[in-house]
Point group: C2
Chain length 222, copies 2
DNA sequence: CAATCTTCCACCCATTAGGGTGGTGGTTAC
DNA sequence: GTAACCACCACCCTAATGGGTGGAAGATTG
């Protein structure tokens, strides 16, 4: 019996973990040895032993319904950066429902080796796993399409723009933002105008709706 | 060999469908005979033959990325209403990631027999399937908690309130909404104030963010 | 019937948003 | 260097928002 690629799954949806584990383990090439529904658990396991491949859903909420105090692993992006930094030998495949460009971009930037959507069949995931295991990158064709189509016209934000956008999305007024960021109210006003222009929307409501829908900002909730 | 409960799965994430099918089919009591990744396909199949139980993810987008023209089945809520109306013998189990009260409420109101979160283990789903098959309702304990906790303080909207909220969330100004709904601008203004008060937020941005995050309105996107 | 709620509209007010146009100083790119 | 961009601030203006208070017609409910 030939060697099977050893994989972990990290996904807060237990049902998805269990199901995917069954489906993947029917294959000849890959074996899912462990599943985790939180970054914390996975982190603890990685310290003990590393798999060949880590299948990672980055849309896991940081705190579940304000019950837990605070996670030491941050969000999916932070966790991914930590894994790729601390365990370079572990190949990470992002496995998510997110087909928004901003999410894909952030994930690819945090050192992920593969990106597969949950809308893809298991077969494609297996292909991705084999690719990344061999050291190749694997980006789902569907994802590549999105990158090609929306990547060119994607809005790039400077640092102050992003900071002000965050505050705008939290409902702060220009004077409030000015005080929070130690800027002139006029400057904030000017940035707000720039943001509206950059995103091509006509008012703050449309801006916020767009940002939330497309997950433009790293911290979707707050 | 004893009879197994026949089930269909409807979920736009093929990977989830395949995995769950494998996991469920390991059980002694339930057999998933078919999977669908769109309401349209499922609808076509139901006309031919009905399962005992339908496992239904309602967060399937109506149009995928503006490619298809328009679905004849509407969104998950509409599809659920259609199924429970046209095929009363089919027991529907809502199977979603949504733990927001507004979504749960709408789903329960559209005649669903069970409600299970994807964060639950497969085991719980099997329990739910057996319950609804016997004619009982099954609401996940986690979901019942949410109903108890947030149900009492949930905001109830009147018809014009909802209509105006929809327009507000799309970024229309008071004069614009007034024209769209054939109302006085002053009236719209007054409703907007009521909405802010009802939801306990201080401005429109916070209102819109809340509505989008909690899926207060049936039509999340548009 | 009285109480209550909803729907609708009105006027007052201060603050904010949004659009335009302008400038300075700094960094980066070619 | 010089063009381009960025960060920052300023003044102009109109329109919209948000808060207060008020009233009238209609339906619902006890």
């Amino acid at each position: 019996m030939k060697y099977k690629i050893d994989a972990y799954i990290v996904d807060d949806h237990a049902m998805f973990c269990e199901g995917l584990m069954e489906a993947v383990n029917r294959s000849e090439t890959v074996r899912v040895s462990r599943c985790f529904t939180s970054f914390r658990d996975c982190r603890a396991a990685l310290v003990q032993r590393c798999p060949d491949v880590l299948l990672l859903d980055i849309s896991i909420p940081e705190r579940q319904r304000e019950t837990e105090p605070a996670p030491e692993c941050g969000d999916g992006i932070a966790f991914c950066q930590w894994v790729t930094g601390a365990y370079p030998k572990v190949k990470v495949v992002a496995l998510t429902i997110h087909d928004e460009y901003a999410v894909i971009r952030r994930m690819l930037d945090s050192g992920v080796h593969g990106y597969v959507l949950k809308s893809a069949p298991v077969e494609e995931l297996l292909t991705a796993i084999e690719h990344v295991w061999k050291g190749q990158r694997y980006i789902s064709p569907a994802v590549e399409n999105i990158i090609r189509q929306t990547g060119s016209k994607a809005v790039r934000l400077t640092q102050p723009e992003q900071k002000i956008l965050e505050d705008v999305c939290q409902g702060y007024s220009n004077p409030e933002i000015a005080e929070r960021l130690r800027l002139s109210a006029e400057t904030v006003k000017w940035y707000r105008k720039r943001l509206l222009a950059k995103f091509g929307v006509k008012n703050t409501v449309n801006l916020v709706a767009l940002v939330l829908k497309e997950h433009i900002l790293p911290d979707g909730g707050e």
